[in-house]
């Protein structure tokens, strides 16, 4: 017996605004990324200052826009179970735009290039290359963006508690620890609750270190312990960027069941995995500090171990779950369903070089080489961004019967090939000990850069097609039409 397809609601105007912003910013940041790679490949010569300014913008911009795209997906689906505030949705977007303005001003006008991780005390030690004002504008911009997300997460927390009584219930504790009566909250609610718990903590920690550094900028007597600052920054950065994936994966949980007419329920294994992920995503951050030998050793060993454990829910529950859903489902493949299926591959595949790098002895020879951007571009491009574009294709699809054009198909395969090639070029360079964040590479490193640049061109071209297609169909995003095509051979 086939499960009847759940209704397919159109997006709120606010969600559409988030997505349109995401499409534009993603594309722009990809072009910045391409320019950086072309600089390393010596196809262009922008100079080191421009490279590092672009690197700062690309890092901050990509992480921020991944947050916006992830939030759009979470908001769209969560709002079908609990009542979220539209005003807060818009407030976050407004704060994001304001913060981006400050960051752009700091970098493009003030010449700030301290990196998106603003590692203390670099922002206040520019050797005259940027002013304290530029550093302050950057830190303040990040603070404003963070405040917007904090507001959004607080509203999500409020709505979840109003709808489900408590976080314990939203995380399915009664079913996880008691009898599984099959009435656990849907995956969307579980995932949103997890993201909210970890993001609230991360955003408060992030805002604290930003505020401390702002004070330190003008009152240097107010000293900050560099180790504490580093731990706080990486805790915030790690949790925030990972939370974007945990938000965006809601699109997979919600949309693949509509395409396959098969349910994705929060059973006990699902709940256990999400509750474990909640803890793991917070306690894994010392894997960024493995080369800080002075950091408490038990925490470093904890980072190493959690790195391995963290792959289990991704592979065994979410990835495997998607495969089960699709296997012999007769699914109607279109660019939306393809991208969502791809995204689960990208996430799982990218987790492999990631956890291996979290092995302390491996980190000893691979930390801060291009291995690192190699693994995170795998799960961000083929995972997170594939989820975002997949959701855009889905939500703007005019009808269940709309067929893809040749351009969409070509763009999909160009995106797959481009992202794989681009990420592998980084990984291979990492194996060859090529340092990350270098404006200029040694001559023997340039061949990898050239290959990487060629693949990056493919990605940008594909993303352009995705973005244009979405913007051209924007009007359909608000309608309540059915979007998922019926599976082949499904009982009517």
């Amino acid at each position: 017996m086939a499960t009847p397809p759940p209704p397919e609601r159109g997006a709120h105007a606010g969600v559409v605004a988030y997505l349109a912003t995401s499409a534009g910013v993603l594309l722009l940041m990809m072009v910045f990324g391409l320019l950086m790679r072309a600089e390393q490949a010596r196809f262009v010569s922008l100079g080191a200052q421009w490279f590092y300014q672009l690197m700062t913008l690309h890092g901050a911009g990509m992480v921020g826009i991944a947050g916006i795209a992830g939030a759009a997906i979470m908001w769209h689906f969560l709002n079908q179970y609990v009542a979220l505030s539209v005003r807060i949705l818009y407030a976050n977007l407004a704060l994001f735009v304001a913060g981006v303005g400050l960051v752009l001003g700091a970098v493009l006008v003030g010449g700030f290039h301290g990196g998106w991780t603003f590692l203390y005390p670099l922002p206040s030690h520019s050797l005259g290359l940027w002013s304290d004002g530029a550093a302050a504008a950057f830190l303040a911009g990040m603070l404003v963006i963070g405040t917007g997300f904090l507001l959004l997460q607080l509203d999500v927390a409020r709505a979840i508690v109003a709808g489900y009584g408590s976080f314990a219930r939203a995380l399915g504790w009664p079913q996880l620890f008691g009898r599984d009566d099959g009435r656990a909250p849907p995956p969307t609610v579980v995932a949103s609750a997890m993201v909210t718990v970890v993001n609230l903590i991360a955003l408060v920690v992030g805002a604290s270190i930003l505020a401390m550094m702002l004070v330190n900028l003008y009152f240097p007597e107010f000293r900050i312990d560099p180790m504490l600052a580093k731990a706080m920054i990486y805790f915030f950065g790690h949790v925030f960027i990972n939370a974007t994936i945990y938000m965006a994966v809601i699109a997979v949980y919600e949309i693949l069941p509509r395409y396959t007419r098969r349910p994705w329920k929060a059973n006990r294994v699902f709940l256990a995995s999400w509750n474990c992920s909640t803890l793991m995503v917070m306690f894994i951050f010392p894997h960024h500090l493995l080369m800080d030998f002075a950091f408490p050793k038990w925490m470093l060993v904890m980072g190493h171990i959690i790195g391995y454990l963290n792959t289990v829910p991704i592979l065994v529950v979410t990835g495997y779950g998607a495969l089960t859903l699709v296997y012999r489902s007769g699914i109607a493949w279109d660019t939306g369903s393809r991208l969502l299926f791809l995204s689960m591959f990208g996430w799982a595949a990218g987790a492999m070089p990631a956890f291996i790098d979290g092995t302390i002895r491996v980190n000893y020879v691979m930390h801060n080489t291009l291995w690192v951007p190699g693994h995170f571009h795998t799960y961000l491009l083929l995972g997170m961004v594939a989820m975002a574009f997949g959701f855009m294709y889905y939500i703007a699809k005019p009808s269940a019967k709309t067929a893809d054009g040749l351009a969409d198909r070509a763009a999909f395969w160009a995106y797959v090939a481009g992202s794989l090639g681009f990420a592998l070029a980084f990984l291979y360079a990492g194996k060859e000990s090529v340092a990350r964040r270098y404006a200029e590479h040694l001559p023997e490193w340039v061949p990898y850069d050239r290959i990487g640049t060629a693949f990056a061109v493919l990605i940008v071209a594909a993303a352009l097609v995705f973005a244009v297609r979405f913007l051209a169909r924007l009007a359909h995003a608000r309608g309540d039409q059915a979007r998922a095509g019926a599976p082949q051979g499904a009982a009517a």
């Binding site: 590692l119 190493h304 492999m352 002895r361 801060n368 340092a435």
Partner: protein, 178 residues
């Protein structure tokens, strides 16, 4: 070489993931309407998959914890008197207290920074990283390494530190044991 193993293992694991996805993709066409029995089979297989993962990942996870770069025992690798090098990072140069070392004798690098965070990365004559640690203001990190090969080694900065980060290099030579 460790980097080589890491690359091979990562590639193999990514390909295995790819096989899994290709398998489901290639068999997505013909619909099996009854999902419950299919799901039951899949869950049974998943339990095996889970234990397989625990075994395959668990062993290297524990095994690689045996010899951590943090431990003083590493000095025992070489023999003879320990050579000590103080290394301090500055924007954008390295200050090394010693630039001639001997192979086969343990070396202890005491690494710190005079300003911002840097990364102390030691590259062998083939420009492959053999060891690294962070150079942080107010903290001294100790790297213990015994060079087995003579030749010219380079120190590259492995933590972003501003405009000339990529130019922040130094050299030292490791001579044959006298």
């Amino acid at each position: 070489m460790l980097q080589h193993i890491v690359w091979t293992v990562s590639l193999a694991l990514m390909m295995l993931v790819g096989f899994g996805w290709s398998f489901a993709l290639l068999r997505s066409g013909i619909r099996e309407e009854e999902f419950a029995p299919l799901q039951k089979r899949a869950y049974r297989l998943r339990t095996r998959f889970f234990w397989g993962l625990v075994a395959v990942f668990g062993v290297p996870m524990v095994y690689t914890l045996i010899d951590l770069p943090y431990d003083a025992v590493r000095v025992a690798e070489g023999s003879g008197a320990v050579q000590e090098v103080r290394a301090t990072g500055h924007m954008w140069r390295w200050e090394l207290s010693e630039n001639r070392l001997e192979a086969g004798r343990p070396v202890v690098f005491r690494v710190t920074s005079g300003d911002v965070n840097h990364g102390f990365g030691i590259y062998d004559p083939d420009m492959k990283i053999v060891a690294q640690t962070q150079a942080m203001p107010g903290v001294t990190n100790t790297v213990r390494h015994t060079f087995t090969r003579a030749g010219t080694y380079r120190v590259l900065c492995l933590e972003y530190c501003g405009l000339a980060h990529h130019d922040m290099t130094a050299e030292f030579t490791v001579g044959e044991r006298s």
